[in-house]
Amino acid sequence: MRAAELAAVMAAVTVLLRFLPFLAFRARTPPYISYLGKVLPPAMIGMLVVYCLKDVRPAHAPYGLPELAAAVCVAGLQIWKRNSLLSILAGTAVYMLLIRCLGFAV
């Protein structure tokens, strides 16, 4: 069955990508990889923040304001309370309220 074949290919390639570094650096982690392991996490998360906001269009209403306001709320709460759960729930609530108040909820 074609669809099952394609789904299996997706699963196999994804597993391969996830396991490859662990198989390649099995015996001893080269210093360069250890270095990347140290500096990549903050960089990758910065990239994911940009990825999440990639479809925001600053030139069109609402000019990315709900996203900006909610993100500032998350970062501010995180700096203040250092509680990720609180920051995320509050920020999401702010966003859901804003898109309704501004009339952009789909």
Binding site: A43, V50, A70
Partner: protein, 250 residues
């Protein structure tokens, strides 16, 4: 001292076996892992439901939703995958598309090679279940103590939310009684909180800034649909060039 008492219980456990045996899975670790996974819960349930609905729309029912979410377990790729399956793409196209969309997982795994080194029997599952969201939660955790069990439980809870959401979406269809518009922002919020936490926890902000600026630059140059791979290459290149600086500083 509840903490030391717990440690005693674990140590004195007869036939306790490996350091990461099931015996060490105490309630406190389960609770901690569950609380860490709550932010992902909302996002995964909503995104999973969306996936289930779309997949049913393409003609593939609940077993497909379950199997794809359980065994592929890569959110954005599964959304892309619906199009590939429904459109009858070739095996080669599917393999290449998966390679492009999921290339970032190589980088997550590279970051975890050292951290996951002594995770014993949890290791294969930890590697399999390393999604964007799980990665960003686990990046904040230093390790030590009962870290492997904690990592395993967070991974397992997240995986469960994703599969449950997909199955629910496939079964419920579009009959949800309330509007959840905007709840998908929980994913963005998760990454913003994680970014802020890493910023506060580390003195060296160059890696975080490199990630942010390279991604922004690549977004402007290559556009929203194509910037991820150039961004990852640029980040790796810049951080590699800065390596001497980083080691001199630490």
């Amino acid at each position: 001292m509840p903490a030391s008492k717990r440690a005693e219980t674990v140590l004195s456990r007869p036939g306790g076996g490996t350091a990461y045996g099931w015996g060490t899975m105490d309630l406190k670790t389960v609770k901690k892992a569950f609380l860490s996974s709550v932010p992902v819960m909302a996002g995964y349930l909503v995104l999973g439901i969306g996936f289930g609905i779309l997949l049913r729309g393409a003609g593939y029912g609940v077993l497909w939703a379950f199997a794809m979410s359980a065994f592929i377990y890569a959110g954005s790729m599964q959304y892309v995958g619906i199009g590939l399956i429904a459109g009858g793409a070739s095996v080669l196209t599917t393999a290449l598309t998966t390679l492009m969309v999921n290339a970032r997982h190589l980088f997550y795994s590279i970051s975890m090679v050292d951290r996951y080194q002594h995770t014993g029997k949890y290791k294969p599952y930890l590697i399999f279940a390393l999604t964007d969201e799980t990665y960003s939660i686990l990046c904040d955790e230093k390790g030590g103590g009962d870290a492997a069990t904690y990592w395993f439980l967070v991974s397992l809870f997240d995986h469960f939310y994703w599969v449950a959401g997909s199955v629910a979406g496939s079964l419920l269809g579009s009959v949800l009684p309330f509007s959840t518009a905007g709840i998908e922002f929980s994913m963005t919020a998760l990454f913003v909180a994680s970014f802020t936490e890493q910023w506060l926890a580390k003195r060296d902000h160059i890696p975080a800034l490199t990630g942010l600026l390279c991604s922004l630059a690549c977004l402007l140059i290559f556009g929203a649909e194509r910037f991820l791979i150039p961004a990852m290459l640029a980040i790796t290149l810049v951080l590699s060039l800065l390596r001497g600086r980083g080691e001199a500083a630490s």
